[in-house]
């Protein structure tokens, strides 16, 4: 118990701090936030206008990130499996093939839906 007392204290402190700052900021803070505050800061000049439907960062960027995640997931599980490949034998092989198939399905979906076309 002693061991974790500081930790729990910290959680509570954190919670108190969070509550405090939210409450205080709503009580005393000015309520004038607007879109400008969320815009990117470009050395004091007006931010470059974005095309409608885009954003500060083009949507494509996010799509690429999402596609990357498929491979990200793949590699996380491939690595330990590769390390222990000889011990897991056929079971491990079948499991990994199934897994790879399942990972491929969304990839195929994205491809068929035109998610990979870079215009």
């Amino acid at each position: 118990m002693d061991l974790y007392a500081p930790m729990i204290g910290l959680i509570i402190l954190g919670a108190v701090f969070a509550v405090f700052s939210v409450v205080v900021s709503t009580v005393i803070g000015p309520k004038r936030y607007n879109r400008a505050r969320l815009d990117s800061y470009e050395c004091g000049i007006e931010p470059t206008p974005q095309p409608v439907g885009g954003g500060r960062i083009p949507i494509k960027y996010y799509l690429t990130a999402m596609t990357f995640i498929i491979f990200d997931i793949e590699i996380i599980f491939l690595y330990p499996w590769a390390v222990r490949f000889d011990h897991l034998g056929v079971f491990g092989f079948v499991a990994m093939v199934t897994f790879l198939f399942l990972i491929t399905v969304p990839f195929v979906y994205e491809w068929r839906r035109g998610g990979l076309e870079w215009d």
């Binding site: 729990i8 959680i11 509570i12 919670a15 509550v19």
Partner: protein
């Protein structure tokens, strides 16, 4: 049917009462009693417009058929020995969860038989009457559907053999009553009255739920057999608690103090509804509940005293309210409260009074239904006018209505040999045997009853005519007058017949309720005479005030008591003061609810909750971050709560 239930019930009944047998032969058809009107309700409510033209006949036929079944069963029951008239009709096992078993089965014994005859008999007459009364209503089919539903639910209530099954009927009659009070939905007042009745009844229902829950704790079951068998060994504290919960339930359903306020508003419903539900049957369910639970109340003296007090208070209160109302139906409603107060009073006296409570309940069913239907007949002939100050001298225009109403009048104030004399006199005697104060309350109530009923009689049928020329009062059609005549006849002979014929109702009910003879502090003759003198004095005062002098067409301001009585003795005001926090909180929530255009009328306790509700509602700000904040705070509280438990 499992045998344990039977053996338990046998064990229960042999000590004081009769054994319950499993029904065979004719008696196994008891379920027909409920099934017939239920079938009628289903046909009428689901059948659609095809039944618009013939619906009322279907409605009447099913109830009359049910009455015929009841009559057959009654005759069959007469054929059995006096101690062997209780039958259990198992239908199906409702559920069985965790050792708690509820079986849907019916109990037909002398007490439920009496109720079944009253409900189906008076019910049939009122159904027939409604054919005429509702003739021009385009939603007549639905009206009969609701009425049938009510009859079925009421029969289930009195035939149940388990408090939980009784509760189904209890809710069912509440629902039917609610639908029927608000039947004329174009009147906002009717919708408000319906809702008020519902809410007040919920308070009573809560008592019922708590009673059943307590029974489960103490007896492990809610079936009559097990509960009544277990009372001997149950702690008195629990029995008193159960008794008080049951009393709360009874107060809600039977419009007894302090839950009386809904009954007067309930008169917004069509008059046959007032006659059947709010005079003859449903409102007496509370009395049934208490008499049925005799085994509990016998051993719970405090709860019994509470019943007596509630009965005595209500009987005076209702009578006083009845004196001040100019609306003929509301005057009669006050009278109903008062008469049920008599029954409660009698039921609270224990074995000495149970039979008399039921006796008065039945005779009251006759004459009060008669009076209400008479009032309905008057309204029918007077373009739905209810203000007695616009009546007067209707005797000539409506001879049959007048004659039957007069019989009902003589019956209710207790003039021998009309029905009310026998039943009320018995209660007053029993009350005097219990104690002087209670007896005097009952006696005083009889005097006031005579006063207000004479007032109704004089203002409606006698004196000078105060209606406008275009009113054209006329006698109602035969389909309405015949039920009146039948009920009038019952009001004449019902009392003496029930008391003396074949041993009378007291002997009939004795196996269920037990019997106890009381010693009167004064000779019977003295008591009877003084009762009669009180009654005549009340009637004479009314005659002096309303018979000799012309009745003003606009109500005079009156003295403080009259004003208070006109406002139902501030029943609503007391409720509001008790249940809701006055002040801006309330107003704000009300204004808010109204401005939203949503039906904002919230009654009684709900108002306080409504204020709380609108305040709590503002927590829902729509901002994700504040939701996350509540979650984080909640998480902190949960973790702290978990850690705190271990600390001490």
């Amino acid at each position: 049917m499992n045998t344990t239930l039977l053996t338990q019930s046998v064990a229960a009944q042999t000590e004081t009462h009769q054994a319950v047998r499993e029904a065979s032969g004719l008696f196994s058809g008891t379920w027909l009693l409920i099934a017939l009107p239920l079938l009628g309700a289903a046909l009428l409510l689901l059948g659609g417009r095809r039944l618009d033209r013939t619906g009322h006949l279907v409605g009447c036929a099913t109830v009359i058929a049910s009455f015929v079944v009841a009559a057959v069963l009654f005759v069959a029951m007469l054929g059995e020995g006096s101690g062997e008239r209780a039958f259990l009709i198992p239908l199906w096992e409702w559920f069985n969860a965790g050792g708690y078993e509820v079986e849907i089965s019916l109990l037909l014994d002398q007490l439920s038989m009496a109720f079944v005859l009253l409900i189906t008999g008076v019910g049939s007459l009122i159904h027939v009457y409604s054919i005429g009364y509702m003739e021009h209503d385009e939603r007549r089919r639905r009206f009969f559907g609701y009425l049938n539903l009510f009859v079925a639910a009421m029969l289930l209530l009195v035939l149940a053999s388990d408090f939980l099954v009784l509760f189904i009927g209890w809710e069912g009659v509440g629902l039917a009553s609610y639908l029927l009070i608000g039947f004329w939905q174009h009147k906002p007042s009717a919708a408000v009255a319906a809702k008020k009745a519902f809410v007040v009844n919920r308070v009573g229902d809560m008592g019922m739920v708590l009673a059943v829950a307590s029974m489960l704790v103490v007896f492990g079951s809610s079936s009559y057999a097990v509960v009544f068998a277990g009372t001997e060994n149950a702690p008195v504290g629990w029995l008193n608690a159960i008794g008080l919960f049951l009393l709360l339930a009874a107060c809600g359903k039977s419009a007894q103090f302090p839950l009386q306020s809904w009954l007067l508003d309930a008169m917004e419903g069509p008059t046959p509804v007032s006659a059947l539900i709010h005079a003859a049957t449903m409102v007496t369910a509370g009395v049934y509940l208490i008499v049925r639970s005799a085994a509990i109340f016998d051993l719970a003296p405090e709860a019994r005293t509470a019943v007596v007090v509630v009965g005595a208070v209500t009987l005076l209160m209702g009578a006083i309210i009845g004196c001040a109302k100019d609306d003929i139906k509301k005057a009669l409603a006050g009278s109903t409260m008062s008469q049920i107060g008599y029954m409660m009073l009698a039921a609270g006296l224990g074995p000495a009074g149970y039979a008399f409570a039921i006796f008065h309940l039945i005779t009251h069913g006759f004459f009060k239904a008669n009076l209400f239907l008479g009032a309905g007949s008057v309204m029918h002939g007077m373009n739905d006018e209810v203000d007695m100050r616009r009546f007067g001298a209707l005797r000539a225009a409506m001879p049959v209505t007048f004659a039957t109403f007069a019989i009902g009048y003589l019956a209710i104030i207790g003039i021998p040999p009309f029905a009310g004399f026998f039943s009320k006199d018995q209660i007053i005697e029993a009350a005097f045997a219990e104690g002087l104060v209670v007896g005097l309350c009952a006696l005083l109530g009889a005097g006031i009853t005579a006063f207000y009923m004479t007032r109704v009689m004089l203002m409606t049928f006698l004196g000078s005519k105060r209606w406008a020329e275009e009113a054209h009062p006329h006698e109602s059609p035969r389909v309405m007058t015949w039920p009146l005549i039948a009920l009038g006849a019952l009001s004449v002979v019902g009392g003496a017949g029930l008391l003396y014929l074949g041993g009378g109702i007291v002997d009939w009910l004795e196996p269920v309720t037990g019997e106890e003879h009381h010693d009167l502090p004064v000779p019977l003759a003295v008591l009877m005479t003084s009762t009669l003198i009180t009654v005549l004095a009340g009637a004479a005062v009314a005659w002096l005030l309303y018979g000799r002098r012309p009745v003003p067409e606009v109500a005079p301001r009156g003295n403080p008591l009259t004003v208070a009585a006109r406002r139902d003795l501030y029943g609503d005001a007391v409720n509001e003061g008790l249940f809701m926090r006055p002040g801006q909180y309330l107003t704000r929530s009300l204004v808010y609810a109204e401005s939203r255009g949503v039906d904002g009328t919230i009654v009684g306790a709900a108002k306080a909750v409504g204020g709380l509700s609108t305040r709590w509602r503002r927590w829902q700000t729509g901002f994700v971050r504040s939701y996350a904040l509540t979650m984080l705070a909640g998480a902190g509280l949960v973790v702290i709560a978990m850690l705190l438990v271990r600390l001490p």
